[in-house]
């Protein structure tokens, strides 16, 4: 994946996360049922977006790292 695509996808995920945990994105999910792991649905929904951020940033880092290594390889 190119660096540009990886950054764009990360940006899209973060924007989506912002909408998902605030008005109006949260409205359809602002309910108690179905409970997930014993948590009200809205709480589990927000927690899932937070956990997803770790995965997305990790994947972004893998791409960024490859490009940094390539750049320093050229410089060295």
């Amino acid at each position: 994946m190119s660096l540009r695509t990886a950054r764009a996808l990360t940006g899209i995920y973060l924007l989506a996360a912002l909408v998902a945990v605030t008005w109006p994105g949260l409205i359809p999910f602002a309910r108690v049922e179905p409970m997930i792991l014993g948590l009200p649905f809205a709480l589990a929904w927000i927690a899932a977006w937070v956990a997803g951020t770790v995965i997305v940033l990790y994947l972004l880092d893998r791409v960024e790292r490859r490009y940094r290594d390539a750049a320093s390889g050229r410089a060295g």
């Binding site: 945990v21 605030t22 008005w23 108690v32 014993g38 951020t53 770790v54």
Partner: protein, 485 residues
């Protein structure tokens, strides 16, 4: 042995250990300003992770979080929602700030901003606004520490004494060892409070309701409105979506603009450490889930605490836990309070000297360090004075502090990403933004859609920054090239 004696012994052990770690850490540090303020730019991943996490999770998270969940229900979900969003952009911004810090010797946020936008007045203004936001924040940490100690020792150790001892220790290690002590004590305190939070957060729902799902089912049956966002306001009426959304927005924007967190970018050993800290930060954020569980477990619990901020110590005492658990809980809460308080005291003194005084009076390195240490003491004393005042409406002040702090975001972004920004533009934006936040904080009835004053201020701030920048003459290309790629 009586319970409060056991509890007091555990607290004393915890405080002694913290002090030892703080004093030991400082021995590795050079006797310079970069050493005192930025720990010689030496922090690895473990310390960076906990220094960031533990500085963010303050007494507000540990005591206020359960308090919100208990009294305002789903409104407390906002605390979980903003952190990851606020931190993520620092994957890119953090290493750029750090690189500029290494190149130009910056150790504070204002140095970075005024490096790009040279102005002594701007530097002084940033220092002043930072201090206005800091004092109520430190005060809340101290009061939190005092409240916990007083509650769990049955009043044998009163608030004034508990806060004095806990913060006497904080001030001792901050004075002697600066950033290095803050880093290593926060690592210890961070591990401690995560373990305590998960333990209590899982234990209390099981003990009181027989399980987490069981707890929420019972709450949903008894109080169906409580668990549905945006939850309730402070008076118990339904909260507005406008307020819920803008609280998340202003907290996300403001989070990393707090000078004590922003400055952490200058303490990292290298860029990879910074990036990994950002990637891992949301895992620390999830530690708010057990904190919320603790608060929710109090909802159907018989008895009412004196105020919702007391829910955690109140429940701990009411549920008849072994003394050792009460003691450990208390140490966890102190960890949360002290690990934020130390970073705040340290940053406020560094900012006041580097960005305030030093701009107008030439000082030697030794004099700068002495002055910082004097200011740590002074800030601590002012905060202590307010911490003892039961009527001070500091929770209100803290909410407004985010309004001020979030106004640092446009100058930082402009400094790093916008070539055409000018000193006059940044200055005008900052003044108008801070003034707007103040006016709407004083007159909440004017707020459109119940929005947080910080967001209203940003909506005014950004156009002013852009318009005044475009109306004034651009900075020279060579100057800008050092900051913008």
């Amino acid at each position: 042995m009586e319970q409060w004696v056991v509890v007091t012994i555990i607290i004393a052990l915890y405080l002694g250990l913290t002090l030892t770690i703080g004093l030991m850490a400082g021995r590795k540090q050079t006797d310079s300003v970069a050493g005192y303020v930025a720990a010689d730019r030496s922090f690895g991943l473990l310390v960076m992770y906990f220094v960031t996490g533990a500085s963010v999770f303050s007494a507000f998270a540990f005591l206020g979080g359960p308090g919100w969940a208990y009294s305002r229900g789903a409104a407390a979900f906002y605390i979980l929602a903003y952190g990851a969003l606020g931190m993520a952009p620092f994957y890119w911004i953090g290493p750029r700030i750090a690189a500029l810090g290494r190149r130009h010797g910056y150790v504070t946020q204002a140095q970075l901003i005024t490096g790009r936008f040279p102005s002594k007045t701007l530097s002084g203004l940033i220092a002043l606004l930072s201090l206005i936001a800091f004092v109520p924040y430190v005060t809340i940490q101290m009061r939190g520490a005092g409240i916990v100690i007083e509650a769990v020792t049955d009043g044998h150790v009163p608030l004034w004494l508990g806060a004095l001892v806990a913060y006497g220790i904080v001030i001792t290690y901050v004075l002697s060892a600066g950033a290095m002590a803050v880093g290593w004590t926060n690592t210890f305190q961070g591990i401690f409070m995560v373990v305590i939070a998960w333990t209590l957060g899982l234990y209390l729902p099981y003990r009181l309701y027989g399980g987490i799902g069981e707890m929420f089912s019972q709450i949903a049956a008894a109080r169906p409105d409580l668990l549905v966002p945006p939850g309730l306001d402070a008076a118990g009426d339904p909260w507005s979506w406008g307020a819920f959304t803008t609280f998340i927005l202003v907290s996300a924007v403001g989070l990393m603009m707090w000078p004590h967190l922003f400055m952490k970018a200058f303490t990292a050993k290298d860029d990879d450490t910074l990036r990994r800290t950002v990637i891992l930060f949301p895992t620390f954020q999830l530690f708010l889930i057990p904190v919320l569980l603790i608060g929710f477990s109090g909802v159907l619990f018989a008895g009412t605490p004196p105020s919702s901020d007391f829910i955690l110590p109140f429940m701990i005492l009411e549920t008849d836990l072994p003394a050792i658990v009460v003691g450990l809980f208390c140490a966890g809460a102190l960890s949360a309070s002290m690990s934020t308080g130390d970073a705040l005291l340290h940053a406020s003194a560094s900012v006041a000297v580097e960005d305030g005084v030093q701009q107008f009076v030439e000082l030697s390195e030794a004099a700068q360090k002495r002055l910082m240490q004097g200011l740590v003491l002074l800030t601590g004393a002012i905060a202590y004075y307010y911490a003892l005042d039961p009527d001070s409406s500091l929770v209100q002040l803290l909410a407004s502090a985010y309004g001020i702090i979030s106004q640092f975001a446009p100058p930082v972004v402009a400094a790093l990403y916008w070539r055409r920004a000018t000193t006059q533009g940044v200055m005008a934006g900052l003044i108008v933004g801070a003034a707007t936040a103040f006016v709407f904080w004083q007159n909440p009835q004017w707020k459109p859609f119940d929005m947080h004053e910080g967001i209203i201020a940003l909506i005014v701030h950004v156009p002013v920054l852009v318009a005044v920048s475009l109306a004034t003459s651009a900075q020279s290309d060579e100057h800008v090239a050092a900051f913008v790629d």
